[in-house]
């Protein structure tokens, strides 16, 4: 499957997948000082499969607002995102994912590393309408704070009106694991490098969603450079 890259989206974006089609998108926001608010309207028809990764690596104020509608049976939508925010940056994701018909599948994995006095916000809702039996929907938001002054807000939500579904949602806000840090340092890896390795490891799960190996490696390097500057 061809990977479609959307670099610095401007204006409202619409992705509509027709029945039986599949697409993979990568959204990259990495311009220092950029401010943008992007509305995404995403619709999947029967059997359509969407894999979408958002990388918000740099920018002043970034806001992505997603309205996803699964409109045909067996539609499948995998969303993942990574925000790297520091200084006084602000990065928001606002997601409403609607399961409108039975037997659809969705996942959301959004991770943020927040340093400086930056603020991130994740507001995600999965809504399963009364008809949408045998829905599978999972949502997770994980936040890593690297300074005392960084802030992460998270609001994972589920509204389920059907009775035969598998759904979960969850969120964490935490700091680097001190046991891991000591383990790495005890092998001679300096504290700063060890922290970087831990942060890269945190990003890995999102990066892994990008199927093109070469692109993934380029992005890993980009993320590493950015994390070094944030440190």
């Amino acid at each position: 499957m061809e990977l479609r890259l959307i670099h610095h989206p401007e204006g409202p974006q619409r992705i509509a997948l027709e029945a039986g089609t599949a697409a993979e998108y990568l959204v990259l926001q990495d311009a220092a000082g950029a401010t943008s608010a992007t509305d995404w309207e995403i619709q999947l028809a029967e059997g359509a499969r969407l894999q979408m990764v958002f990388l918000s690596l740099d920018g002043d104020t970034l806001r992505n607002c997603l309205r996803v509608s699964l409109q045909g049976r067996h539609a499948s939508c995998d969303l993942a995102g990574l925000c790297l925010a520091d200084g006084t940056q602000r990065m928001d994701y606002d997601i409403v994912l609607m399961h409108e018909v039975p037997q659809c599948h969705s996942t959301q994995l959004f991770k943020n590393i927040v340093g400086g006095q930056a603020v991130t916000r994740f507001d995600g809702l999965i809504k399963v309408v009364p008809d949408a039996q045998q829905t599978e929907a999972y949502q997770a938001n994980h936040n890593l704070l690297t300074t005392e002054t960084a802030k992460a807000f998270t609001k994972p939500q589920l509204e389920i009106y059907a009775d035969d579904v598998k759904c979960s949602h969850g969120a964490t806000i935490g700091r680097l694991n001190p046991d891991e840090l000591f383990y790495l340092r005890s092998r001679g890896i300096p504290e700063k490098e060890a922290r970087l390795l831990q942060q890269l490891a945190f990003c890995y799960e999102v990066l892994e969603k990008i199927s093109a190996a070469e692109m993934r490696e380029d992005l890993r390097q980009k993320i590493e450079e950015r994390l070094r500057k944030m440190a």
Binding site: Y183, R185, S186, R187, I189, E191, A194, Q198, Y204
Partner: protein, 252 residues
């Protein structure tokens, strides 16, 4: 022979609780010292303090390693100086592969010692060689550090890391706990192959079993934060048969 490690009157606490209450220990290059003792006697605390774990506060005493004040060094600086801790509970680090972890560690240590980093081919050759030493499958190298490893695999990975880093002082904290006989043999063989006249080992263990494979020069019994008995390797067998009570009574 020169003293590699000299511990004098070492006291250490966690919060208000004193765990080490005056340890004295001299280790010379070429020696293997076993430290035994009942649960909660301070064995793991001693190894953690030597490796630089910040959870513990040293309240008194000194540790001199190779002529330097070990306690003044950061954990990574201790590693650069040749100190290695084999963890009782090795940490899982998802997302960091074994190979990248070891590459970062080996090349950082080389850098600190004024050596060129190993190139990819040299590194892989070294890695293969050391993995063979502990009978580790090469598929482990691309997996996350200790992620999904069995207890025995984690311990073998500790010995593998030790072999990669070639420390001068290796502290093995209950490396034998949770190992079956085969894994124990592999771990012990790895250690024995790394014994040299210029390095030393501290082997912390509950069981005499390990000391059948790694024969120590000296055995110390730690109890309530102090070494209450020091003897030759025959002591292990005696402890296996009679337990610790007689030694504790003797010391009181």
């Amino acid at each position: 022979m020169n003293t590699l490690l000299k511990i004098e009157n070492l006291h250490a606490s966690v919060g208000e609780k004193e765990i080490l209450r005056g340890i004295n220990l001299d280790i010379r290059a070429g020696e293997v010292h076993a430290i035994m003792g009942p649960n909660g006697s301070g064995k793991s605390t001693l190894s953690a303090v030597l490796a630089g774990r910040e959870t513990f506060t040293v309240t008194d005493g000194s540790v001199t390693y190779d002529g330097r004040d070990l306690l003044a060094l950061k954990p990574e600086e201790r590693a650069w100086a040749g100190v290695f801790l084999g963890f009782q509970y090795p940490v899982e680090i998802p997302g960091v592969s074994n190979v990248n972890f070891m590459k970062a560690a080996v090349n950082e240590q080389r850098k600190q010692r004024g050596l060129e980093p190993l190139n990819a081919a040299q590194f892989l050759k070294l890695m293969r060689e050391k993995m063979a030493l502990v009978e580790m499958d090469s598929s482990f190298s691309s997996r996350g550090v200790n992620v999904g490893f069995s207890g025995g695999e984690k311990k073998r990975n500790e010995i593998f890391q030790m072999a990669m880093l070639e420390p001068r002082l290796a502290i093995l904290d209950e490396t034998d706990s949770g190992l079956d006989v085969d894994a124990l043999r592999i771990v012990a063989t790895g250690v024995n192959q790394l014994r040299r006249p210029d390095n030393a080992f501290i082997v912390i263990t509950h069981y005499q079993r390990l000391l059948d494979y790694i024969v120590p020069d000296v055995i110390h019994v730690l109890y309530k934060g102090r070494i209450i008995k020091t003897a030759g390797k025959e002591l292990a067998l005696e402890i296996e048969q009679k337990g610790y009570d007689w030694i504790i009574q003797e010391s009181e």
